[in-house]
């Protein structure tokens, strides 16, 4: 359960310092697959860092093409995850290639773990994770193993900032739609 009843002022930018490990020890919320990282002014998010299987770099670039096409073909294919942004990065450490996957979204990941697994299967998002060391072979039928991998490779933030804190992507889209409606109204008033 998310505690989103508080209504912070979106016009007041905010930063939140987070304890080591990512959880506030006295208020850890339990999700179905384990503890939930707290919501911050930058909403929920993850930063997954994992080593790639040596020599697999080309698969990541092919994957980028595939995702670009999947989203172009079905713009709502990721809607259920309530995302703001996703970033995929490859970087070297001592000659070995690592992968960073960072997402900012409006729900705790725990809620939609199974939906995420389903999306991974249907959109081809899967391929990138299958090129990471230690990714569970039975992930398609074992959401718990999938969630465990994500948790084990999650690097929690120690500081997060929001220029418009706690605002959801849906609220932003509603505000833009309202702005467009007002523009239309003003046009009609001419």
């Amino acid at each position: 359960m998310s505690n989103t009843s508080k209504k912070p002022d979106w016009s007041k930018p905010a930063a939140m310092a987070l304890p080591k490990g990512g959880y506030f020890p006295n208020r850890v919320e339990q999700g179905r697959y384990g503890p939930i990282f707290p919501k911050t002014p930058a909403n929920y998010g993850f930063t997954i860092i994992a080593k790639i299987i040596p020599g697999r770099e080309p698969a990541f670039y092919e994957y980028a093409q595939r995702i670009e096409k999947a989203v172009a073909d079905a713009p709502d294919c990721l809607a259920v995850l309530k995302l703001h942004y996703l970033r995929w990065v490859l970087f070297p450490i001592k000659g070995e290639t690592y992968f960073m996957y960072q997402g900012i979204f409006d729900t705790d990941f725990d809620k939609y773990t199974e939906d995420a697994v389903a999306i991974f299967t249907s959109t081809g998002l899967r391929t990138v994770f299958e090129n990471l060391e230690g990714f569970p072979e039975d992930w398609q039928t074992n959401p718990a193993a999938f969630a465990r991998f994500v948790r084990e490779h999650q690097c929690p933030s120690f500081l997060e900032y929001g220029e418009y804190p706690f605002v959801s992507a849906d609220e932003i889209k509603k505000a833009l739609a309202l702005k467009a409606s007002f523009s239309t109204m003003l046009d009609q008033m001419q």
Binding site: R32, K111, A118, D138
Partner: protein, 442 residues
């Protein structure tokens, strides 16, 4: 092909019962528990037996076990370890995830189901009170012969009058939207969402995502079995009726308030199809009373508020992967009806129900945490399910209306959780296997 001879009847059929009793038991020792089980399992109908003899039978029995109960009967640790974590932990350990906090916390449960000593449930559905009394006497005799089986509590179920249709103590028509398993022989009513693969509800069959997860071991124990969440929900009828009076001046207005909480009129007529006034003929017609969606027909909730009970429990075309979230509901009402106009008498009454699904975490727990108790479901900000959500008097309920929505603040709790547990519902072969554990192979 479904194994109708092995699957317990409750999974596929609904008994035509007006009365019933749930018996919660604990085993002092494995041998005694297995001896009791050996006798009692002879009374359990398979799905096929139930269908063939339902016209002449007068009682139907179901048996299910907690994880502690499987251990108490002698299932070995290696097998126990292969069951899903949420079942191993049990409903009490999952309380925060389920929203069972505050007044709903297991420490307030009244029936011993929060105890780790809860090992099994016997579900009896009977055609009438006389048949129930006969069965109870028979079971009492059996218990007298097996002192190592201790009864933690019992709960008597009584249908609520009038008996011509199923409804709860608040008066809402029930059993309107049930998933239909592919191969079960049943046909979904219009709007009920098509056939669902058996593996969503029964272990050992393909599910909506593929061949299905690995089975708990040994397979003879798990195949044709499934999981079952038990919920004993007290309904605060006096409080509910006061609320309707507070928010509706006339009986018609009060009916509309009741409908706006549920998403259906108490007759069962869905607000999407009957937004202005009740239509009892629609409510009673299974060919029409479930045939609607939200995405096109009511996207903003002007007919059915976004936070209604039915919109949360079955978002239909406004949620992803619905076929992976369906659940079978069984159960009945308990306690005496509160006569219309009578003040609350302090007697507990409510619904004691089972949610049956192949994965408690993916189906039941998802529904509880993401649909029922997420304050921000559909961006609502500060609401929970108005009927079964955890309400502590601080939340609100919004009813969309032009030009300005109606917002009710401080929604009271109309229900409270009074008991609950996770059970494994084995197939008939598995029941016999459990009863024979520890016996030398012949």
């Amino acid at each position: 092909m479904l194994d109708f001879d092995d699957i317990q009847h409750i999974l596929l059929t609904r008994a035509p019962a007006l009365n019933g009793r749930y018996v919660f038991v604990s085993f002092r020792d494995a041998e005694g528990g297995r001896a009791w089980l050996s006798t009692l399992l002879e009374t359990v109908h398979s799905a096929r037996a139930m269908r063939e003899s339902v016209a002449r039978d007068r009682r139907w029995v179901t048996l299910a076990f907690t994880w502690n109960g499987l251990r108490a009967l002698g299932v070995d640790e290696a097998s126990l370890a292969t069951f899903p974590d949420e079942f191993k932990q049990g409903m009490v350990a999952r309380a925060e995830i389920l929203g069972d906090t505050g007044e709903n916390h297991p420490e307030h449960w009244v029936d011993g189901t929060a105890s780790p000593e809860l090992h099994a449930i016997v579900i009896l559905f009977a055609r009438d009170a006389e048949e129930r009394a006969r069965c109870v006497a028979q079971h009492d005799e059996l218990l007298a012969r097996h002192e190592s089986v201790r009864v933690l509590s019992t709960l008597d179920l009584e249908a609520t009058p009038p008996f011509d249709y199923a409804h709860d103590h608040f008066g809402y028509r029930d059993r309107l939207s049930q998933p239909v398993i592919e191969g079960s022989g049943d046909v979904p009513t219009p709007g009920s969402g098509g056939f669902i693969k058996a593996g969503e509800f029964i272990l050992g069959y393909p599910d909506e995502s593929g061949p299905g997860p690995a089975l708990p071991q040994p397979e003879i124990l798990s195949r044709n079995g499934t999981f079952m969440a038990y919920r004993r929900l007290e309904e605060h009828v006096g409080r509910f009726r006061s609320f309707l009076r507070e928010h509706g001046q006339t009986p018609e207005e009060q009916e509309l308030v009741a409908a706006k909480l549920m998403g259906r009129w108490r007759s069962g007529a869905p607000l999407v199809l009957a937004p202005e006034r009740d239509d009892p003929a629609l409510g009673a017609d299974p060919q029409r009373n479930n045939d609607f969606g939200y995405k096109e027909q009511d996207p903003h909730g002007y007919a059915v508020p976004l936070g209604t009970h039915i919109r949360r429990m079955n978002p239909r075309d406004t949620a992803a992967n619905m076929s992976r979230r369906r659940m079978i509901r069984r159960g009945a009402t308990y306690g005496p009806p509160l006569p219309e106009g009578a003040p609350d008498d302090g007697v507990e009454r409510g619904i004691a129900a089972f949610v049956i699904c192949a994965s408690l975490i993916r189906q039941f727990e998802f529904a509880q945490s993401v649909w029922v108790n997420d304050k921000n479901f559909h961006e609502l900000g500060n609401e929970r399910d108005p009927i079964i959500g955890n309400q502590d008097g601080t939340l609100e309920y919004k009813i969309p209306k032009r030009p300005i929505r109606k917002k009710i603040t401080g929604l009271p709790a109309f229900t409270s959780v009074r008991g609950g547990a996770y059970f494994f519902l084995p197939g008939l072969r598995a029941l016999r296997w459990l009863a024979a554990l520890g016996r030398a192979p012949s």
